[in-house]
């Protein structure tokens, strides 16, 4: 019992030492924190009550965010499915799966907002840049999970379908797809949800949606409008989450025997 206890204590000491070092390095100080709390109180006081200063720009921003999320999820999933299939190592030879896996890793490694910056330069300010950025993110996420789901399937069914002399497309449709459909619904709804969250953010770099309205309200110190925007974003995301849960419920429910 004694040896692991010592390791345990050493771990705590190391943790405390790291925290102290990092705090010093990041220029934290107590007076700064206290001033901040003061500012924070004033800040919150200015946020209450929330006020919808520009109803038009709020409504348009929310609508545009929703459009970005829907289109990005649709296009992203459409592109991600074949790439995920190519990346599955149990169905594809290594010379196909490795490039596909590299593409997925590349798409996953950047935050959507950073990808959005590049697309703002490429296709200009506006919703298209946001859609492109979220498509890249969706391809990375769905592609990875879809490939993993396919790698975990039982090959017996695939073999059985193949033994009937089915073509490659038929093997995929009847041997692979039924096994991964449930999980696919799970991460497709998750991705729509996640795109909705991110579509409210890409506007910070000019890629359309409510984020732009939010950022400019911040810069004008319109904190009561900021509060109103934040509340409506949370409302939108919450509605999206409820809807996603309902869709999952519909698709993942089991069939019932029915008397006629």
């Amino acid at each position: 019992m004694i040896a692991p206890r010592w390791g345990f204590r050493l771990g705590w000491v190391a943790l405390a030492a790291y925290v102290a070092y990092a705090l010093a390095r990041l220029d934290f100080s107590w007076p700064r924190f206290v001033t901040g709390l003061d500012n924070g109180a004033r800040f919150i006081a200015r946020m209450i009550p929330p006020r919808i200063a520009q109803p038009d720009s709020l409504a348009n921003g929310l609508l545009e965010s929703l459009q970005i999320a829907v289109l990005a999820s649709f296009i992203g999933i459409l592109i991600a499915l074949p790439i995920g299939l190519l990346a599955a190592r149990n169905l594809m030879p290594p010379w196909v799966s490795w490039p596909a896996r590299a593409l997925i890793a590349l798409a996953r490694s950047f935050h959507p907002v950073i990808v959005a910056i590049v697309f703002v330069k490429a296709v200009g300010f506006g919703a298209i840049a946001g859609i492109c950025a979220l498509v890249v993110g969706s391809v990375g996420f769905i592609g990875k999970l879809f490939a993993e789901a396919i790698e975990e399937i039982s090959l017996k069914q695939v073999e059985a379908v193949r033994a009937t002399g089915a073509s490659f497309l038929n093997v995929i449709t009847f041997g692979v797809m039924p096994q991964v459909f449930g999980r696919f619904i799970g991460f497709a709804t998750y991705q729509l949800d996640s795109n909705l969250r991110n579509s409210t953010m890409v506007g910070i770099v000019g890629a359309g949606g409510i984020g732009g309205t939010l950022f400019s309200a911040f810069q004008r110190f319109d904190y009561d409008f900021v509060a109103a925007i934040l509340l409506s974003i949370i409302g939108l995301i919450f509605a999206g989450e409820v809807l996603a849960a309902w869709v999952r419920g519909v698709f993942l429910a089991r069939g019932k025997v029915e008397e006629e």
Partner: protein, 270 residues
């Protein structure tokens, strides 16, 4: 979808009930309608789209060659700062999320109002994006790494707390009942009954969140919350695209290294 007839044809097996069929149909319909409506009404400026390939080419031409020489002066320090923001933010988040996660687990704290309060805290933390948290903390504490660290911490509470609470709720009653029967106080029950069961999940959640936080802390600088995003923002505002490419490469390298590190650690300790 599939229909199987029994010998006489009186009993049929259907995969879905009519209600399920209608619900599915409604979802497909709503999906198509949503996509079509979005595609038709989203604002597209055709000139920008036609221009895109040329702009892309121009962008990559400006990014190449990558300004490697910029790394020691302009990138290294902010890269290290980003890692500190992510790590310190995760530590803070875990410290704050543990009690909330315990409060959210109804089998550990069998008191409904407290469960709901904890769930509310977790949902609130998760529904605000880390960039928004960063904007808020920049407004409160001024620009810098302090705002970034707190943004990462507050965004992560919801994630860590939710998963930790769920892990607690899934723990088996056996040892806990044994401890209860022996009259163990609350703290012993937690330390010897629940903790050993959720410890692997705990480390896995913390590592996973750290990995995510490394990615997220790289963009916080765009709103002034410290880290490598500040270097990115400066380079972009000055249109120094070769330096932007350098920063992007640094972010890519760190993210990849973090992911490899997490995978290795997970393999070793779990």
């Amino acid at each position: 979808m599939s229909m199987v007839f029994d010998g006489a044809g009186t009993r049929t097996w259907k995969r879905f009930t009519p209600r399920q069929r209608i619900a599915r149909f409604a979802i497909y319909l709503a999906l198509v309608a949503g996509i079509v409506a979005s595609a038709r009404s989203v604002e597209v400026i055709p000139e920008f789209l036609i221009d895109a390939p040329a702009q892309m080419q121009d962008l990559f031409k400006r990014m190449w060659p990558i300004a490697w020489a910029h790394y020691p002066r302009g990138v290294h320090d902010s890269l290290v700062e980003t890692l500190h923001i992510a790590t310190l933010g995760t530590i803070l988040a875990v410290a704050m999320a543990l009690p909330v996660g315990v409060m959210a687990a109804h089998n550990v704290v069998p008191f409904k109002p407290l469960n709901y309060l904890a769930k509310l805290i977790l949902v609130a933390s998760r529904s605000v994006n880390s960039l928004v948290w960063a904007l808020l903390f920049v407004a409160i504490f001024g620009p810098g790494a302090l705002a970034g660290t707190l943004a990462i911490a507050f965004r992560s509470i919801g994630f860590v707390g939710k998963l930790f609470g769920e892990a607690l709720e899934e723990s088996h009653r056996g040892t806990i009942e044994a401890l209860e029967a022996s009259g163990a106080p609350w703290r012993s029950r937690f330390a010897w009954g629940y903790w050993p069961q959720v410890e692997p999940a705990f480390w896995s959640i913390a590592l996973f969140r750290w990995d995510i936080n490394v990615r997220e802390s790289a963009v916080l600088g765009l709103v002034g919350a410290g880290g490598i995003g500040m270097a990115l923002d400066t380079a972009m505002n000055l249109f120094q695209w070769d330096r932007v490419a350098m920063v992007l490469f640094a972010i890519f390298a760190v993210v990849v290294i973090a992911e490899i590190a997490v995978t290795q650690i997970r393999k070793r300790i779990l």
